[in-house]
Amino acid sequence: MTLVKEAPVRPAKKRSAAPVAGRRGRRRENLAGYLFMSPWIAGFLLLTAGPMIASLYYAFTRYNLFTPPEWVGFDNFTTMFQDPRWQKSVEVTLKYVVVATPLKLLLALGVALLLAQKRRGQGLYRAAFYMPSLIGASVSVGFVWRALFSDDAIVDRTQKIFGVDVGGWIGNPDYVLYSLVALSIWQFGAPMVIFLAGLKQVPQELYEAAEMDGAGPLRRFWNITLPMISPVLFFNVLLESIHAFQVFGSAYVVSDTRCGPADATLVYTCYLYQKGFKEAQMGFASAMAWSLVVAVALVTAVLFWSQKKWVHYEEAAK
């Protein structure tokens, strides 16, 4: 970017080149810029844009990977809405989003509030709490989770001390989804760091003034902190819900690739994967993928619309 801006100024001063040469120079530099960007552009076209367009086309076809795709119009979408397993996957995903997102953000905010205060070893704590976010998406953590929440494993034994006996969460269709929720909450590091940055932006004099007026900690949090960090909160809600809609790896690994038992962890992407790669119904899978895109876009739109009611930007206040 700087390259393009600077170009016409400097050569003109130094060499007082003719306007024609300047234009040619600029074109040259643009060319250089595009050439530098071309690996990325090629990658984007070949690996992102191309497949997306192809999948949009496949969404309207019956395609088993071997015989050429056959145009079926909206058939995939109508079968999809009538498919009980698809309905189940939507239900499971919504349950996951609605339970996991708020809990994760609540914990992230809570820990951010604690870590925002100045104390010794602050950096160490921050790193420690952020760590799970770095490794959380890995397959190995999925295996660890499976081991933790199985029958007679540490979680089960701890529960039994308190007189709760469910015999492990992994095999129980009523509980297994909550083990995934727990895994999501455990990775609260990323939103926490963003909350921390938000908390740093809140002007101290507001708290001082409120304190002088006799506001207690709860009141200060409710009337100063929360409104002041509401843009950050909005950002986190948006990002985390979008993430939650796309949950896959943990469900796939924890359920030993079957998204079960009894379809209890059949999250949307898991069903999509099964349809596409196990049953070779690529058309159906593409239709599912595009429906997810539309659904996430709708949720995003609703969140953007709602922000007028609860997100406070300083510029707006002025």
Partner: protein
């Protein structure tokens, strides 16, 4: 960044070079993976299989043996577990890039034959590159579809009841040939009463066992192109199954789920489990008890409905080296040394050369051999029919829906209805 002309030109050139390199790289990887012959006439074949670590170690030894004998053919191994294998294979095959030679099973023959992926090895046999002689008990027929030979069996296996010998002995029950289902469930009851453990790990979600039960009653799971039973049949099968979970005769599915990938039997959750007889070898390593093979219960006291199934080797129809692929398969199924190395890992060795060469030394392999000989002697072996295209999807659905019934999450009638509707979609796919 410098703006002088010289630097600029160099920058442009460098950028262009980098781009060309990247695109070039993409192009190479794009069409990579083809097996090819090198200048000195050496041919490379890709060989893929699924299975655990012991199988992989053994197969690698047999590859080394082959490469020594055929120095002009190099074998590139690819292996994963069962689930991953077929997912990967499907993608590779649809891209026209499957392995030259690969392990195959009866549930996939029609599916990939229909899609033109499998080489008819009969032509190679006619050309003298592959021998179709000396196969035991007619297992060669397992690899035939519509007159084509698209799979060559490496081993033969059949369903069995693997039992915890100690538990059966302690409970004082005996598994005898020709026993009926009623007698089997009575035995489970005795085990439960005396040992306070479940008798079975969940028989009613195993498609291949239900197939045997249907065969005992004059039906079969699959016809050439459809399901060979009714929704009512299945509803009854699952209703009985669920009743037995509730009464504790069959192990708690919640617990079975959590010991995976270990089996419920070797984890000590139940005293018996229906599975393929060659799987029994793995239980000894996994579990703490001693395990043996017992006969399949019958309906009429005689017919078990059993047949000999097999794992096979198939070749890709589009392979650039059909001759070498056929030579490789022939070596793998006939060479006595290979038989000695593989043992009964993929079932009882399919050819007489290999069968005679391998003398089972441990109780487990001996047990498998004795069991299969007994089954063959009883003269009740039926014929296997290659499953229709979509059978693999239906097997997965059967396991899943059976699991839902066991967990009390689906009513047997609803689950049976779901299976039929999913089967319809699978056959159409």
């Amino acid at each position: 960044m410098g703006t002088s002309r010289n630097v600029e030109r160099r920058t442009i050139l460098k950028a262009a070079g980098a781009t060309a390199a990247t695109l070039g790289l993409a192009a190479t990887t794009g069409c990579g993976g083809d097996s090819d012959s090198s200048a000195d006439g050496t041919v490379t074949l890709r060989y893929a299989w699924w299975g655990g670590e012991p199988r992989t170690i053994a197969i690698k030894k047999t590859i080394a043996l082959f490469e020594k004998k055929y120095p002009k053919i190099k074998i590139k191994p690819e292996f994963t577990d069962y689930e991953a294998f077929w997912e990967k294979f499907q993608t590779q095959a649809s891209g026209g890039n499957p392995p030259d030679v690969f392990q195959n099973a009866v549930g996939f023959l029609r599916k990939y034959d229909k899609r033109g992926v499998l080489l008819d090895l009969k032509t190679q046999a006619d050309a003298g590159n592959l021998s179709l002689d000396n196969f035991r008990n007619g297992v060669l027929a397992n690899g035939q579809v519509d007159g084509k030979q698209i799979g060559i069996p490496v081993g033969a296996n059949t369903m069995a009841l693997v039992i915890d010998l100690k538990a059966f002995k302690k409970a004082g029950v005996e598994a005898k040939f020709g026993w009926t289902w009623d007698e089997y469930f009575e035995a489970l009851q005795t085990i439960q009463d005396k040992l306070k453990i479940a008798g079975d790990t969940g028989y009613f979600a195993i498609m291949y066992l239900y197939d045997l039960y249907l065969r005992q009653n004059g039906k079969a799971f699959f016809t050439d192109s459809d399901l060979g039973f009714t929704e009512d049949d299945l509803t009854q099968w699952w209703t009985d199954g669920y009743k037995r979970v509730k009464s504790g005769l069959v192990a708690d599915p919640k617990k079975i789920e959590q010991v995976k990938p270990k089996s419920g039997l070797s984890a000590g959750l139940a005293a018996s489990e229906f599975t393929w007889d060659n799987f029994s070898i793995r239980y000894e390593g996994e579990g703490e008890s001693d395990y043996g093979l017992a006969p399949i219960p019958t309906t009429d006291g005689k017919d078990t409905g059993q047949y000999l199934g097999s794992l096979m080797l198939s070749a890709f129809a589009g392979t650039k080296h059909p001759k070498e692929a056929a030579q490789f398969i022939s070596f793998m199924v006939h060479d006595p040394e290979v038989g000695k190395i593989m043992g009964y890992d993929r079932g009882i060795l399919a050819t007489t050369e290999q069968y005679d060469a391998f003398k089972p030394a441990d109780a487990n392999n001996k047990g498998v051999a004795a069991y299969e000989n007994e089954v063959a002697k009883a003269g009740v072996l039926g014929k296997i029919t290659p499953h229709p295209s979509g059978a693999d999807v239906i097997e997965a659905a059967f396991l899943r829906l059976g699991g839902e019934v066991a967990q009390g999450k689906s009513k047997p009638a609803d689950a049976a209805k779901a299976l039929f509707s999913e089967a319809k979609a699978a056959f159409a796919g």
